[in-house]
C-alpha cells in the first residue's frame, strides 16, 4: 500500500496530464457542438504541453538561463544538473503559438459551417447533408 501511495505521489504530473488528455479526447469524440469539440482539442493540447514541461523538471535546478553568462564572472564551468532541461521548453514554446494559430483556423472553419447550415450542432448538420 505504501508502495502504491509513493508511486502515485512520485508521478503525479503524469496522472494530471492523462486526466486532462482524457477530458479533451472525450470532448472531441462525444460532444455534439463544434465549438465544444474545438475547446476539447485545446484541452488535449494543454495536456501535452503540461506533459512536456513536467518532463523537463529537475530537482534542485533553476530555469535554463545561464547565470553570469557575460561579464567579469564569465568562463566558469556550467554543470548540467544546475539547470532544467531546455529542450521541452523549446518544443512547447512553438507549440503554444502554433496552437493559437490552428485554433484560429478551426474557428474560421466553424464560422463557415455556421454560415452554410445556420447551426453548429453536428447531428443537425448531418441531417441537412442527408436531405440534399
Amino acid at each position: 500500500m505504501t508502495d502504491l501511495i509513493s508511486m502515485v505521489v512520485a508521478k503525479y504530473n503524469y496522472w494530471i496530464y492523462i486526466t486532462l488528455m482524457m477530458i479533451g479526447l472525450y470532448a472531441i469524440i462525444a460532444k455534439n457542438n463544434l465549438v465544444k469539440k474545438i475547446v476539447g482539442m485545446n484541452i488535449f493540447q494543454t495536456a501535452i504541453i503540461l506533459f512536456y514541461v513536467s518532463i523537463g523538471v529537475k530537482k534542485g535546478a533553476t530555469i535554463p538561463i545561464l547565470e553570469h553568462g557575460h561579464g567579469p564572472d564569465a568562463h566558469h564551468v556550467v554543470h548540467a544538473v544546475d539547470y532544467i532541461n531546455p529542450l521541452p521548453h523549446v518544443l512547447m514554446l512553438t507549440a503554444i503559438v502554433v496552437g493559437v494559430a490552428t485554433l484560429g483556423v478551426a474557428l474560421a472553419l466553424a464560422i463557415r459551417v455556421y454560415n452554410n447550415y445556420n447551426t453548429l450542432e453536428e447531428d443537425e448538420i448531418l441531417a441537412q447533408i442527408r436531405e440534399k
Partner: protein, 277 residues
C-alpha cells in the same frame, strides 16, 4: 456515440495510466529526457553561441530549421483564415449606405447609394451598429498600449539574456493592436494597421528568416549556420551566431505579430472587417 466515446476514452486512459508506471519519477535528474542531448546544450551553449538563454539558443540555432517551418505553419494559418473568411464586396451587390461621424461634435451623416466622402481629419467612417466606446476603457487602453508595445519590443530584443524571444514578443505586440480593436472598434485598428500591411508583414517575417538562412548558404556554409555571417558583421564566429539568432527572432516576431492580428480581424468580424466584437 456518447457510450462509444466514453469507452474509447476510458480504454486509452487506462493504457496511458499503465504505461506511466514505467515513466521516470517527477523531477528526476537522471531521467532519459535529461541525460541524452540536454547536458550538451546546457554546458556548451555559452561557448558555441555566447547566448545565456539556452531556450533561445536551441530554438533559433540548434533547431533553427524546425523553427523556420513552425513560422511557416503560423504564416499559413493566417493565410488560411483570410481565404476562408474574407468577403470582399461584389459588383452586383446593392451599393452600401455609409455613415460618417464628425469627431468633435458627434454629428453623424448618412450617405446613400455608395456615395463617398473625401478623406478628411474631421470625419471618421463608422458602422451602422456603432456605439461610442466607453471613456474610461478608451483612455485606459490608449495609455496602456504604448507600454505594451514597448514591452513587446524589449521581450524580442532581450530574448538572449532573459525569458523571451520572437514568439513571445510577437504575441505581445499583436495583443496590443488587438487591444486597440477591442477597446475602440475594428475600423480604428484597421486604420492604424491596414490589411495590406498585415499581409506584407506576415510574409516578410518568414522571408527574413529564410533569407538569413540563404545568406549563410551564399557565404559557403550550411543553411542557417550563422557563423558564416562573421565576415559581414565584423565579429568572431561565436558572436556572429548570437547576432544571427537575433535576426531570425526579429523575423519570427514580425510574422507572429501580423498573423495574430490577421486572424483576430478575420474571425471577430467574420471576414467583413466591420463592427468586430
Amino acid at each position: 456515440m456518447k457510450i462509444i466515446g466514453l469507452i474509447i476514452t476510458v480504454v486509452t486512459g487506462a493504457l496511458l495510466f499503465y504505461a506511466a508506471g514505467d515513466f521516470p519519477a517527477w523531477s528526476d535528474p537522471a531521467s532519459p529526457a535529461s541525460t541524452y542531448l540536454s547536458p550538451h546544450f546546457i554546458e556548451k551553449t555559452m561557448e558555441e553561441t555566447s547566448v545565456p538563454n539556452i531556450v533561445t539558443a536551441v530554438l533559433a540555432d540548434y533547431r533553427s530549421f524546425d523553427t523556420m517551418f513552425e513560422t511557416a505553419v503560423i504564416f499559413s494559418a493566417g493565410v488560411v483564415c483570410f481565404f476562408l473568411l474574407r468577403i470582399s464586396r461584389r459588383e452586383d451587390e446593392e451599393p452600401e449606405t455609409r455613415y460618417y461621424r464628425h469627431v468633435l461634435t458627434g454629428v453623424t451623416i448618412q450617405l446613400k447609394e455608395g456615395h463617398k466622402m473625401p478623406p478628411s481629419a474631421d470625419f471618421e467612417r463608422i458602422d451602422s451598429m456603432w456605439t461610442p466606446p466607453d471613456l474610461i476603457i478608451k483612455t485606459g487602453c490608449r495609455l496602456l498600449i504604448p507600454f505594451v508595445q514597448l514591452f513587446g519590443l524589449y521581450v524580442i530584443a532581450h530574448g538572449h539574456h532573459s525569458p523571451g524571444g520572437g514568439f513571445q514578443g510577437g504575441v505581445i505586440l499583436g495583443a496590443s493592436v488587438i487591444l486597440l480593436a477591442i477597446s475602440h472598434d475594428l475600423r480604428t485598428a484597421v486604420r492604424r494597421m491596414s490589411e495590406k500591411l498585415i499581409g506584407i508583414l506576415c510574409a516578410a517575417g518568414v522571408l527574413i528568416y529564410a533569407c538569413t538562412g540563404a545568406l549563410c548558404l551564399l557565404l559557403k556554409l550550411n543553411f542557417l549556420d550563422y557563423s558564416a555571417l562573421a565576415g559581414i558583421l565584423h565579429v568572431d564566429p561565436i558572436t556572429a551566431r548570437s547576432h544571427g539568432i537575433l535576426m531570425v527572432e526579429i523575423g519570427v516576431g514580425i510574422a507572429v505579430l501580423a498573423t495574430m492580428i490577421w486572424i483576430y480581424n478575420n474571425i471577430s468580424s467574420a471576414g467583413r472587417y466591420r463592427q468586430g466584437l
